[in-house]
């Protein structure tokens, strides 16, 4: 249980608030475009922290490589699907929210 292990735990625990704020954003934000931000940004940072923490605690480089691959895949998937959903929403002529 060295320094790296504790640092990893701190990183994991740091990641959780990002997930929670992502969910709060999903629930509280006013329209689809703002909710996209909450999801694709907060959650991926949270996952990044978790991956970072787990990498610091990992036993070997292959585990780290797999963790990073998983994170990269989630990043690609969520950015692409965010783009597709936003484009579909724009084509549906959904007005972006603005402060009344």
């Amino acid at each position: 249980m060295g320094l790296l292990h504790n640092l990893g735990t701190v990183c994991i625990l740091l990641g959780i608030p990002f997930f929670i704020s992502g969910t709060i954003g999903l629930l509280r934000f006013p329209d689809i475009y703002t909710r996209l931000h909450a999801l694709t940004k907060a959650d991926n940072v949270g996952l990044g922290f978790v991956v970072l923490g787990l990498s610091l605690q990992a036993d070997g480089w292959h585990t780290v490589a797999r963790l990073l691959l998983i994170w990269l895949l989630v990043l690609i998937a969520s950015s692409a699907s965010c783009h597709l959903v936003a484009r579909a929403a724009l084509r549906k002529k959904i007005e972006p929210w603005s402060r009344p």
Partner: protein, 348 residues
């Protein structure tokens, strides 16, 4: 005193039926489907908690990925077909409230409920009886553990699937084959219901993900011998690659000759049957491999079935047999399908 995992179990176990209930009660069909996709995800987590990684892997590929795409595309097709239906499905109230069943349906309902309750009661009784009958000590677990050395693989589930109860898997591959045959004999594939170009982001996504999916499918089949993974999981991921390519309307997919698809569908079942026949001819039981080469046999059969399962599931998603080659009846002139192909090719 419950620890965090205990609460985790409780939340998950409560969330599953609640989700199921909301899913069926939701007025909007689309929302019901999204809830179903989420249910698949939670089911995968449940399998992990119940120490069934093989099942979790299959659920992750099928429940969270494939079934969602299947339902969403079917909903779209239904909606397109009739505006009235769209109003029904998206009206914001339950179609059951909107639609009063004819008299005989109304009378049939209590009967149906009575029968269902009876069925459920019988099921619960059977379950309790079988639980009471099961000897303590993990059912067939120890027996499988004893024989594992002879099976040629190190993963228990794979040993059961392809060696000890290989005929189950043989029949299951046949069921898939029959499903594909059924769909192919019913309809042809329509031109995809999609009226906008995929765009560069999707093209890049497909270019990145599809090869990776195929690679991961191979990895899962390979790793299936020693731990979670195998033909089903590999096949499901392969099918996901196929579905992604079909969705993005990549030209390559539509240029695959139908004969190749047919062979892809038949490869797994054929090889499986051939093995069974060879095993019987060599004097053994059905699918009783020679113990020293069992590992190689299993890997061969698994790879072939993975390809077949992948092709079958993707074909089921496409929803019909491949369209006729358009050049035939037009005497060399390009048909409408051809034109669409050329368009798709020109865009990329």
């Amino acid at each position: 005193m419950m620890d965090a995992m205990g609460i985790f179990d409780m939340v998950l176990a409560l969330a599953l039926p609640w989700l199921g209930w909301r899913l069926l009660a939701s007025p909007d069909l689309f929302r019901a489907m999204v809830l179903f996709i989420s249910l698949g995800l939670l089911m995968a987590l449940t399998w992990v908690r119940l120490q069934a990684p093989d099942v979790a892997l299959a659920e992750a590929a099928i429940g969270a990925g494939l079934t969602g795409a299947l339902f969403l595309s079917a909903l779209r097709r239904l909606e397109r077909l009739s505006e009235a239906e769209r109003r029904l499905a998206f009206a914001g109230k339950r179609e059951e409230e909107d639609e009063i069943p004819p008299e005989r349906h109304r009378r049939a309902k209590p009967v149906a409920y009575g029968l269902a309750l009876l069925l459920l009661a019988v099921f619960v009784l059977l379950l309790a009886w079988s639980l009471a009958q099961t000897p303590a000590g993990g059912g067939l677990g120890p027996a499988v553990g004893e024989q594992l050395g002879q099976s040629g693989v190190r993963s228990e589930v794979t040993a059961v699937l392809l060696n000890f109860r290989g005929y189950d898997t043989l029949l299951e591959v046949m069921v898939l084959f029959l499903a594909a045959l059924g769909v192919w004999s019913l309809t042809r594939v329509r031109l995809p219901l999609q009226d906008e170009e995929p765009g560069p982001v999707l093209a890049t996504l497909v270019r990145l993900l599809a090869p990776l999916m195929i690679m991961v499918a191979g990895y899962l089949v390979w790793i299936g011998g020693s731990r979670a993974g195998g033909a089903f999981q590999g096949g499901a991921v392969l099918a996901a690659a196929g579905v992604l390519l079909l969705l993005a309307n990549v030209t390559v997919v539509r240029q695959i000759p139908a004969a190749l698809l047919r062979w892809g569908l038949a490869l797994g079942p054929l090889l499986f049957l051939l093995t069974a026949v060879v095993c019987v001819a060599a004097g053994g039981n059905l699918l009783e491999y020679p113990p020293q080469r069992a590992g190689a046999w299993i890997l061969l059969i698994e790879s072939a079935s993975a390809v077949s399962i992948g092709v079958t599931l993707a074909a089921l998603y496409a929803g019909g047999r491949p369209p006729e080659p358009p050049a035939q009846d037009r005497g060399g002139e390009q048909g409408p399908g051809r034109d669409a192909d050329a368009d798709a090719g020109g865009r990329q």
